[in-house]
């Protein structure tokens, strides 16, 4: 297996990476772990003219600053998996990364690379949207922040401008009685997801829902924020019946794209099941109840 020829340079800082990308023209691409891009290059589905290797552009830092979890774009999936700081502040990340690929992919793949790739089944994309993350990017025009919900446009397409590179991802860490859940079903552990559902729930002292977010991943061309459909839960105690209604409504309305291994209707049914499980699990965790698992889609 041989990719098409390309040039390769290393950037020792983010500004240098931006300069190199700008000089490389529109076929220049950033490479960090390469776990998404390189398979496409090997199969000749991608043929960048220049690879700018950013793996030495910054540290793989994980910081908790002012109610924000700030991850360097170079933080690897395995770093997330084993970080107590992440587990304590944004457990949905910890839960989601175990679904990614295998131990090798998790050791090379980075959060910045995963988000910038724009692959619609990417677990971290779904989590970023569900947790309201902000993506910090640096480009020829300077630094800007993109809400994760605005980053993903369609298959392998993001709102990053040419010459822009993701440098960090920021996750809000709200206090209070809050719970989250990430649910995924793939035909085989580590494979591309058939359906993902990510939910966060905040409760008041009386166990009534203060806020709820629900995002469905892997069924459309990008993560789909369906929080609006969950609004009936607000002000209520979250129970199976109400959640079931929300989940069915979400499933009925969501646009489901094709998949090699499953028909649209089946995946629509899974949306309903996983959305329900994600909401109930998140609510249980918010209530601080003994962890009740409403069924985890993972085979592993």
């Amino acid at each position: 297996m041989y990719s098409a020829p390309f040039e390769y340079v290393r950037a020792s800082s983010w500004p240098e990476a931006v300069d190199l990308l700008e000089g490389g023209g529109e076929d220049a691409r950033v490479i960090a772990g390469g776990q998404s891009l390189v398979p496409m290059m090997m199969l000749r589905l991608a043929a960048p003219s220049l690879l700018v290797d950013v793996s030495a552009a910054a540290d793989r830092s994980v910081d908790l600053v002012d109610a924000e979890l700030v991850l360097s774009a170079l933080v690897r999936h395995a770093d997330i998996e084993h970080s107590e700081v992440v587990r304590g502040s944004c457990p949905m990340l910890t839960e989601a990364v175990t679904h990614i690929g295998n131990v090798r992919v998790r050791h090379r793949g980075t959060i910045g690379g995963s988000l910038a790739h724009g692959e619609p089944t990417a677990e971290l994309a779904t989590v970023a949207v569900a947790e309201g993350a902000t993506v910090t990017v640096l480009g020829p025009g300077g630094e800007r922040a993109i809400p994760a919900g605005d980053l993903f446009v369609t298959h392998f397409t993001t709102s990053l401008e040419p010459g822009e590179v993701v440098t960090a991802v920021r996750f809000p860490v709200p206090g209070g009685r809050r719970g989250s859940s990430f649910q995924e079903i793939a035909r085989r552990a580590g494979d591309f997801a058939l359906v993902e559902a990510a939910a966060t729930v905040a409760l008041d002292e009386d166990d009534r829902c203060l806020s709820v977010r629900l995002v469905v991943g892997a069924v459309s061309d990008r993560p789909v924020d369906v929080s609006q459909a969950a609004r009936p839960l607000i002000g209520e105690r979250i129970g199976e019946d109400a959640v079931g209604e929300v989940a069915r409504a979400v499933a009925a309305e969501i646009e489901v794209g094709p998949h090699t291994h499953a028909g649209r209707e089946y995946r629509r049914r899974l949306v309903s099941v996983l959305a329900g499980r994600a909401l109930l699990t998140a609510a249980d965790r918010a209530a601080g109840a003994v962890h009740t698992d409403h069924g985890n889609g993972a085979r592993a």
Binding site: Y8, V38, M42, L51, D53, G101, R104
Partner: protein
């Protein structure tokens, strides 16, 4: 394509080469570094056959470009033990028939070794999970897990005696 001079360590020995950017680490190992024990199974990063350790961590050598590993250390299955000898984990694979056709074995050994070094008391289910990205089409995995557990137990006994 501009060539790049790279220098790395393969199984503790220095290797330097002049490579095109699109040469994979797998190809570098199989040509310049004489590491024919590194096998290509799928080229997608899925099967685990081409697994090597890069600075001690498992990677797909088929999805890593050689230029990316300049200055780093690579371990292949031949780096597990001294030339002409077998590592106890390799012995365990032999004793427990953890290898049939043998094509997945190098990647399987390296993943198991890496995982047990990090999690010396990993139980069978944790080991099963750690190996989920290393496919075997011959054994059904049962004897592979038998072998890895036997090695783990023998190693723990040794450390208890110490």
């Amino acid at each position: 394509m501009s060539k790049h001079e790279i220098a790395l360590e393969v199984n503790g020995r220095p290797v330097s080469a002049t490579v095109d950017p699109n040469m994979s680490l797998l190809e570098l190992l199989r040509t310049e570094a004489g590491g024919l024990e590194v096998k290509l199974g799928c080229g997608e990063g899925v099967c685990g056959t081409c697994t090597v350790l890069l600075d001690g961590e498992p990677v797909n050598s088929c999805l890593t470009f050689a230029v990316q590993v300049d200055g780093r250390a690579v371990t292949t299955v031949r780096g597990l033990a001294a030339e002409g000898e077998l590592h106890p984990l390799q012995e365990a694979f032999l004793t427990h028939a953890g290898s049939q056709c043998g094509f997945c074995t190098p990647g399987m050994l390296l993943t198991a070794k890496w995982y047990l070094d990090r999690h010396p008391r990993a139980d069978r289910e944790e080991l099963r999970s750690a190996l989920s990205g290393n496919f075997c089409r011959c054994t059904g995995y049962t004897k592979i897990l038998d072998a890895i557990e036997a090695y783990r137990d023998a190693r723990q006994e040794v450390s208890v005696v110490d």
